[in-house]
């Protein structure tokens, strides 16, 4: 059993400057970074949504004339790229950044400045890709960027795409390393791996998926850039290069990527369902292992995206069967979520609505996924609207519903005020109806032979009705997002105060104030069980029913930080944002050679400045504390104050 840990004697809390734009630009606080991730991702979500609306307008009727082919190809390429890389991934990073450290009882991530760097590189990369709109047009080779179409395109649009994805990959890779290190080294005393909230588990699986899959697509993207700009011949069939190589590399990343997008949402739902059922997650270990199994299997099914590429019956059989197996752990999750609600006291708050919506809609996406593993059937479904329907049920019905569940669940924790419930429910129902109106008909369209990525279709193919329905549905979704935005702005200003624990939560984030102080916890919590906070609030009566305890030992929120035991927080730094600016300057320069060499040189210069500045930066920066704790023995020469702090926490863990 863990002993009480002395908080290390360090600088006073609040070492970070409060407010002001500079505080945000230089912040290394995981919560501020999380908020910035979330806000930026939402902005890109709106952008990607507008792209989708134009797409739907164009397809509302046959021979649509809202946009021309060229513009349409740009729009669907950017819709996919934006939603995958600039919305779902970063908003998962937002939740991970904000809540993962708090849920494991840490005061920050392992590498706070690296964390800031992840965000700024992501934002720079997102702006970089999106800026192509003003500089010759959006990328237009589809989000999968198949070669040789991607290497053939003569204008720089696909350079924007390839370079942009490389930049975003750096951000994700840094984030992954940071999260893995944080989860392995910075858990509060007693927070064993199998006491971690499932949300944290899923963030960890995702971090590993990123770490192993991103290098694969990175190789491919470099080859695309080299082919396009330096005359290499990786994908040039005329000289023995192989276009199919790209598909292997892309999908070796691209399929794990699907789980990178969905697992965080599964994690969110695995927190929300127990809270509002007032029961622990059913089959915790099975849900965790199923998540990990999905991660592992996800690396072995990439070629099911290539069932029409001519791999031959043996490979098709292998990948078909392997794909089927993924249904097993997925099913385990769904059944356990059901088991969680079973026998519970289920209250339908907005986060719960979205979570149940997730389970129901994701199930549909899972079932249509099984039909893809039936290889011969997939030769009909592939690249048709049936596939579009399938992955929107997974990524919208799944990931996006899960994300909004998380937004409604945690908004009060982050901003101190709850989102409005009636507006939230309106949002849910509009989105639920709009979503199904938009994407359910696409199953039919696909089976009726409508290929995806077509700018127009002829009259008389039997696709008119369902396309019109889908378009109507998409505008209902847009309306639901408007309701959400109104709700968010209103509630942020004058919503109902959340208090520390508005939902009678089970995990550590509810044990601290809303919003949490810079240091998260005045004292590092000591964990005795899964759902530790719940069991600190509730005992059991003779019938094994929970009984509220009189005392609430975990509620430290009211407690003033112990002045004797200062909390050391890392100092702010402007080097992360500077480094990101350097990288993106380099990338812009690359697009306009030879004159761009100047920009490239400037970019490199900025990067060197940032890297050296970073390396040599005094972590007891003037912006930070002034009490000279540096001479304290426990500073131990370690550079990273937060790591240090939990280092001492970890000592408490070991017997």
């Amino acid at each position: 059993m863990a002993t009480v840990v002395e908080a290390p004697p360090i600088s006073p809390p609040g070492a970070q400057p409060k407010g002001g734009i500079w505080a945000w630009l230089t912040s290394v606080d995981h919560k501020k970074i999380g908020i910035m991730y979330g806000v930026a991702a939402m902005a890109f979500f709106i952008l990607g949504g507008i792209e989708a609306l134009v797409i739907r307008l164009q397809l509302a009727v046959p021979e649509g004339s809202v946009v021309a082919e060229d513009a349409y190809n740009q729009l669907f390429t950017m819709h996919g790229t934006t939603m995958v890389f600039l919305f779902v991934m970063p908003i998962s990073a937002a939740f991970g950044n904000y809540f993962m450290p708090i849920m494991i009882g840490a005061r920050d991530v392992a590498f706070p400045r690296l964390n800031a760097l992840s965000f700024w590189i992501f934002l720079a990369g997102g702006i970089f890709i999106s800026s192509s709109f003003f500089l010759g047009g959006f990328p237009d080779g589809a989000w999968v960027g198949y070669s040789p179409l991607a290497t053939q395109a003569e204008v720089i649009r696909m350079d924007f795409w390839a370079l942009g994805l490389l930049i975003l990959g750096v951000a994700s890779l840094l984030g992954a390393v940071n999260f893995i290190t944080t989860i392995f080294t910075m858990r509060a005393p007693g927070m064993t791996l199998f006491r971690m909230p499932v949300f944290v588990w899923m963030q960890m699986v995702v971090a590993f998926l990123l770490a192993f899959s991103l290098p694969l697509v990175t190789v491919g993207l470099f080859q695309v850039i080299l082919d396009r700009n330096f005359g290499t011949l990786f994908y040039d069939a005329a000289t023995g290069g192989d276009p199919v190589l790209w598909q292997h590399l892309f999908w070796l990343f691209g399929h794990p990527e699907v789980y990178i997008l969905i697992l965080p949402a599964m994690g969110i739902v695995s927190e929300v369902l127990p809270t509002f059922s007032r029961k622990p997650l059913f089959g915790y270990q099975f849900v965790v292992f199923a998540g990990a199994a999905i991660g592992f299997l996800g690396f072995g099914v990439w070629a099911h995206h290539m069932f029409t590429a001519g791999l031959g019956p043996v490979a098709e059989t292998a990948f078909g069967l392997m794909t089927m197996t993924i249904a097993v752990p997925t099913g385990i999750k769904i059944f356990n979520w059901l088991g969680t609600m079973w026998g519970g006291s289920v209250s339908f708050t907005t986060p719960m609505l979205f979570a149940v919506g997730f389970v129901a809609m994701f199930t549909i996406g899972g079932l249509s996924g099984v039909t893809h593993s039936i290889v011969p059937a997939d030769t009909q479904q592939h690249d048709s609207y049936y596939v579009v329907a399938h992955f929107h049920y997974v990524l919208f019905g799944g990931a996006v519903f899960g994300i909004f569940s998380g937004v409604y669940y945690w908004f009060g924790k982050v901003f101190g005020r709850l989102l409005d419930e009636p507006l939230g429910k309106l949002h849910f129902w509009l989105m639920f109806i709009g979503f199904n109106l938009t994407f359910a008909p696409m199953h039919i369209l696909g089976l009726n032979g409508m290929p995806r990525r077509i700018a127009t279709y002829g009259d008389g193919l039997g696709w008119n009705l369902w396309n019109l329905v889908a378009t109507v549905g998409s505008f209902i979704i847009a309306l639901s997002i408007l309701v959400f935005l109104v709700n968010a702005v209103r509630s942020y200003r004058k919503g109902e105060p959340a208090g520390a624990d508005p939902w009678d939560g089970r995990t550590l984030e509810w044990s601290t104030t809303s919003p949490p102080a810079d240091y998260n916890f005045a004292e590092v919590p000591i964990v005795d069980a899964i759902d530790d906070f719940w069991y600190k609030k509730y005992g059991e009566d003779d019938n094994h029913l929970p009984v509220r305890l009189d005392t609430d030992p975990r509620d430290l929120s009211a407690r003033e930080p112990d002045v004797e035991h200062h909390v050391h927080l890392p100092s702010p730094s402007y080097y992360p944002i500077l480094l990101a600016v350097g990288i993106v300057t380099l990338a812009y320069g690359f697009l306009w050679l030879p004159i761009g060499y100047l920009a490239m040189a400037a970019g490199l210069g900025i990067m060197l400045w940032a890297i050296f500045g970073w390396a040599l930066e005094d972590i007891d920066h003037p912006m930070g504390d002034g009490n000279g704790h540096g001479d304290g023995g426990d500073d131990g020469g370690g550079r990273d104050a937060a790591a240090e702090l939990v280092g001492s926490g970890a000592e408490g863990t070991s017997e």
Partner: protein, 356 residues
């Protein structure tokens, strides 16, 4: 603690939309108004696929009803009614037997699916016997067909005899991009990949017109790369082959007709650099091959099976091809605007419409 608010009628509607959609999918089979319908197979291989899909869909529908039913039942049974306060409930952490059960049950269903799947994969991959062989070339943005043994070359509209396998070899120029050949009622799709030689077998049970289109995004005019397959009774097919092998209807030099002027323009304007007319000085080919026009007037459509072949459409096409169908002629993708005047267009249309 925040009071929980219950919602009315939620659960039923939760799955309602999807159930309706599912029902419509099932009932959409065989609809005559959907000429690219995968659910209206017209060949043995397409039927194999459709049968397998229907089997899968039925299993999926059962699972769908069970799971969504379980969600609805759970939610209705255990939800808090309006104004009700949350009750303390037993903190159950799991049940290993249940876990084993719901691990094994889906695995068994999948095993049941795997058997016919693997069978069909190999069945549909079997080499056809006594097949007509056609080399299909995917081009940005049209299709070229070369009948290996019959010596016929044509574009966009493929003619096949009913009841006989047609073995397609799918190729493309190494400077082109990936396309995918798809005629949903006749078979699944197969990609056309530069540097690769893929094959697929199609056939048709009944005479008729079967629509298809490129299914792999291939750039600017991907949406406009369509195709159709005409299936004929064997005798009619033989007649079609004979008509294709007949000499091109080139107006004689002495002729002063509009058609003759058109033919001269065809040569002098450089049409022949891309478009072949067999057995004449218009050899065709080059860097940027266009459709072989030897028997152009036998086709119903042109430009990637996009437009009906009639005087009006041909006139607009010759006046400004990229305005009708976006192309990139400056990059050797598609037909350039030759800057023809009205008289030249009239003559060329007359010539083209005479290529019976």
């Amino acid at each position: 603690m925040r009071a929980a608010v219950s919602t009315r009628e939620k659960p039923r509607r939760l799955a309602g939309g999807s159930l309706v959609a599912m029902a419509v999918v099932l009932s959409a089979c065989g609809s005559g108004d959907t000429p690219q319908n995968t659910l209206a197979p017209a060949s043995e291989r397409a039927r194999n696929i459709d049968g397998l899909f229907t089997f899968t869909l039925i299993l999926a529908a059962v699972v769908f009803v069970l799971v969504q039913g379980a969600i609805i039942y759970t939610v209705v049974k255990f939800r808090l009614k309006k104004g009700e306060e949350p009750k303390p409930v037993k903190q159950i952490h799991g049940n290993t037997r249940l876990e084993i059960a719901w691990t094994i049950a889906p695995a068994l269903i999948l095993a049941g699916l795997a058997v016919p799947t693997v069978q069909t994969i190999f069945e549909n991959a079997e080499s056809p016997v006594d097949a007509i062989e056609i080399t299909v070339m995917g081009h940005q943005w049209w299709w070229e067909y070369e009948y290996t043994d019959l010596g016929v070359v044509t574009a966009n509209e493929m003619h096949i005899p009913v009841g006989r396998d047609v073995f397609l070899t799918l190729e493309t120029d190494t400077t082109d991009v990936i396309h995918s050949f798809w005629v949903p009622r006749l078979s699944g799709k197969r990609d056309v990949v530069p540097g690769h030689v893929n094959t697929i077998t199609i056939s048709a049970d009944e005479p008729g017109e079967y629509l298809g289109q490129c299914a792999e995004f291939c750039g600017l005019s991907h949406a406009n790369m369509r195709l159709r397959v005409y299936a004929h009774e064997p005798a009619d097919f033989d007649a079609w082959v004979a008509s294709q092998l007949a000499a091109a209807a080139i107006p004689p030099d002495t002729d002063e007709s509009l058609r003759s002027t058109g033919w001269e323009l065809f040569i002098s304007k450089g049409c022949a650099a891309c478009h072949a007319v067999n057995g004449t000085e218009a050899a065709g080919g080059g860097l940027n091959p266009g459709p072989n026009l030897t028997h152009f007037a036998q086709r119903n459509t042109f430009a990637g099976a996009l437009f009906e072949r009639n005087d009006e459409n041909l006139r607009s096409w010759l006046a400004n091809p990229s305005a009708m169908k976006p192309m990139q002629p400056d990059l050797n993708r598609g037909m350039p605007n030759l800057g023809l005047n009205d008289e030249e267009i009239t003559a060329l249309v007359a010539f083209l419409q005479g290529l019976t």
